[in-house]
């Protein structure tokens, strides 16, 4: 037994060497990503901040109305946003919102095509599945360290960690949706002479849409759940006051910031929950 403990496999060192190698050799690449993403996020936040608070408020309420036609939901959205404004977390809320939006957009842009490929290519999915499992089960703090090293302090490592954590949802649910398309619909598409691309866009994607939408909603919620952790590496937003409150044992600040996060979560969930799901059931 001693022999085993004495000859430790240097897994950690290997990983460290790999990350060091990346920082040394590909620093320019990671810096470029870091700088451009940071620029995008900060500009979007600035655009939102340029408007007086009632503009985003009305826009959100209008979106809620357009998607769900529900007066109670619109009232809830307005009241919740007013409360956040009143608590003094408007700017943090905007930063969080933009972070979630960016993470979701990037996850969806990458995740849906990967999901489609995986559904058409079962071998790819058997290869992908353990990786997706790993991305969701490894404690987030663990990959926060290398992302921090590679991308530097700030919003970008937070964003990257969020994407790593959240991208599995759109991939899995797109895969599920596409592979669950009834064989008869595919056959009908083929029998009427659909080309492979028409088959994808006119049959498979519309048929898988409920599942894909569920994937997007899940992705939003998973991104939001990373807000506090992203704040640890310097991402701005509602996570920061939470961390600060934790460090100073400030119950009132912790409660208020926590409440703001919950409100944002409920608003996003209610607005983006698949509007069609009610009709289908």
């Amino acid at each position: 037994m001693n022999w085993i403990t004495e000859h430790k496999i240097p897994l950690g060192s290997w990983m460290e060497a790999f990350v060091d190698w990346l920082t040394f050799n590909a620093a320019g690449f990671f810096d470029a990503i870091s700088i451009s993403l940071e620029w995008v996020i900060l500009s979007v936040v600035e655009i939102f901040q340029w408007f007086p608070p009632y503009v985003p408020m009305i826009m959100t309420a209008a979106l809620a109305w357009a998607l769900h036609r529900s007066i109670p939901l619109v009232i809830f959205v307005v009241v919740a946003l007013l409360l956040i404004l009143n608590l003094g977390y408007w700017q943090e809320m905007l930063e969080t919102f933009v972070l979630v939006l960016t993470a979701t957009t990037l996850s969806v842009i990458m995740g849906i095509p990967i999901g489609i490929l995986a559904a058409h290519n079962p071998r790819l999915y058997t290869f992908l599945r353990p990786i997706l499992d790993m991305m969701q089960t490894i404690p987030t703090f663990v990959y926060l360290i290398p992302t921090l090293v590679l991308f530097g302090l700030g919003v970008v490592p937070g964003l990257i960690s969020t994407i790593i954590f959240a991208i599995a949802a759109p991939i899995r649910l797109t895969y599920l949706g596409i592979s669950k398309v009834p064989e008869s619909l595919i056959e009908a598409g083929k029998a009427f002479g659909a080309t492979p691309s028409k088959l994808l866009f006119k049959v498979e994607l519309p048929a898988a849409m409920p599942s894909i939408m569920a994937g997007i909603t899940q992705c939003i919620m998973l991104s939001l759940s990373m807000v506090v952790i992203a704040a640890l590496v310097g991402a701005d937003g509602l996570g920061k006051p939470v961390i600060r409150a934790l460090n100073t044992v400030n119950i009132s600040q912790g409660f208020e910031a926590g409440l703001a996060i919950v409100l944002v979560a409920i608003i996003l969930d209610r607005i983006f929950k698949n509007p069609g799901s009610k009709e289908e059931s």
């Binding site: 009908a188 029998a191 009427f192 049959v203």
Partner: protein, 417 residues
């Protein structure tokens, strides 16, 4: 020229096609091939010609390969060996060896399909579902919707155009499926058990509608069914399949009259012969009728006789010495208005159902005339013979003598009336 010409076609599913074909050639059965670790054989050595404007029904139990054969025609199933030609204008296209573009051309312009479980797109309205195939043809939105609307009117669903498929009943959904196939204006229609998922009443209604539409549109239809009654009703020809082979192919009446083996016989035994059999195949021929002096005896009990001239033409009829009326009945004429106690003459192509109706109405045997001369008669024992399914029993049973059977028949009809 046939619209579809299939020669020695084999369909094997999977990745060990060559090995499976080799085993097939060695005469192994499907199950033996699967047990040896090879693929499922869908169709083996099928040859069939489908003429233009014909409804050909592929009939068999589930797993007999009828759907596999149908799906090979538009290339949904692989053609492992043999030839499958489909007419495209002046030429024949080999579906097995043509390239993707040609296959797509055949699918969008020449062959359309109707599915058992309807296969309608749940996210499209009824109208857009009908227009789906046209969209695949690359037709513009306005144009294809106008055309789809036309076809929806044809199947009587124009008022439902903005609904979604799940809001319609099964029968209506299949009408949408039919409209979608008709919208393609293709000459060949593949129908994969289109009415099997429907209630019996709706099924029969849709069969009638299909027959009516077919009279107007004159498509070539390949129709899969597991129901021989359905096949007999709509088929111009029927091909019966058993474990991947076509075992009998012929006109409905031939199949009912001469089932090739026990398997087909079992099917036939459970069908209703009323709509299939024709007078000609049921009748007692004139030459087998008893003669009394120069008259032919139709019924010895009440001494019903007819006399014919030298050309075989019926000139007079009598019962117990008294003359009775003769009447020439034409196809399509009302049977309810026929006078009672008259000897009705009809063509030998009269259906069994009509012949029985005439017999029931007039109380007399039916005379069958061809080219004005008497070729045979239909009396009760002919009908009972067919209804009891004795008309196809391979061992020729001796037919009881006319007299005793007529006697029984008389008693039976009297008690039932």
């Amino acid at each position: 020229m046939s619209a579809i010409s299939i020669r020695n076609l084999d369909v094997v599913f999977g990745d060990k096609v060559d090995a499976s074909l080799k085993l097939l050639d060695q005469g192994k059965t499907r199950q033996e091939i699967i047990d040896l670790g090879c693929n499922v054989v869908g169709v083996h050595n099928a040859s069939i010609e489908v003429a233009e404007g014909e409804i050909c029904v592929l009939m068999g139990l589930s797993g007999s390969g009828k759907s596999s054969l149908l799906r090979a025609v538009n290339g949904l199933n692989p053609i492992s060996r043999g030839e499958l030609l489909v007419q495209d204008g002046e030429q024949m296209v080999d579906i097995g060896s043509c390239d993707e573009t040609t296959l797509r051309h055949m699918r969008t312009r020449r062959i359309s399909m109707v599915f058992q479980n309807f296969a309608l797109m749940p996210w499209l309205t009824v109208l857009d579902n009908v227009a789906f195939g046209l969209e695949m043809q690359g037709m513009g939105k306005q144009e294809r919707r106008a055309k789809a609307m036309e076809k929806l009117e044809m199947v009587g669903l124009d008022e439902w155009s903005s609904k979604y498929a799940h809001e319609l009943s099964g029968g209506m959904q299949q009408r949408v499926g039919l409209a979608r196939a008709f919208a393609m204006d293709s000459d060949i229609l593949l129908m994969d058990e289109p009415f099997s998922a429907l209630d019996p009443l709706i099924r029969s209604q849709l069969q009638d509608e299909l027959i009516e539409l077919q009279q107007r549109l004159n498509k070539t239809i390949l129709f899969v069914s597991h129901d021989l009654d359905e096949a007999l009703k709509i088929g111009t020809n029927i091909a019966i399949m058993e474990s991947a082979r076509i075992i009998q192919h012929g006109r409905p009446e031939d199949i009912v009259l001469n089932p090739i083996n026990d398997y087909v016989e079992q099917f036939v035994a459970h069908t209703n012969p009323l709509n299939v059999l024709k007078g000609r195949s049921l009748m007692t021929e004139t030459s087998k009728l008893e003669r009394l002096e120069d008259m032919l005896v139709l019924n010895r009990n009440d001494n019903t006789c007819v006399s014919t001239n030298s050309a075989g033409q019926v000139v007079s009829a009598s019962r117990q010495g008294k003359p009775i009326a003769l009447y020439q009945w034409q196809e399509g004429e009302s049977i309810d208005r026929l006078p009672e106690d008259t000897l009705v003459m009809a063509t030998p192509d009269i259906s069994m159902r009509q012949a029985i109706e005439i017999r029931y109405r007039t109380g007399q045997p039916v005379l069958l005339n061809e080219k004005e001369s008497l070729i045979g008669i239909l009396s009760d024992n002919n009908f009972y013979h067919a209804l009891l399914g004795k008309h196809f029993t391979s061992t020729e049973t001796s037919i009881p003598s006319q007299a005793t059977l007529a006697d029984d028949a008389e008693r039976l009809t009297n008690s039932s009336i």
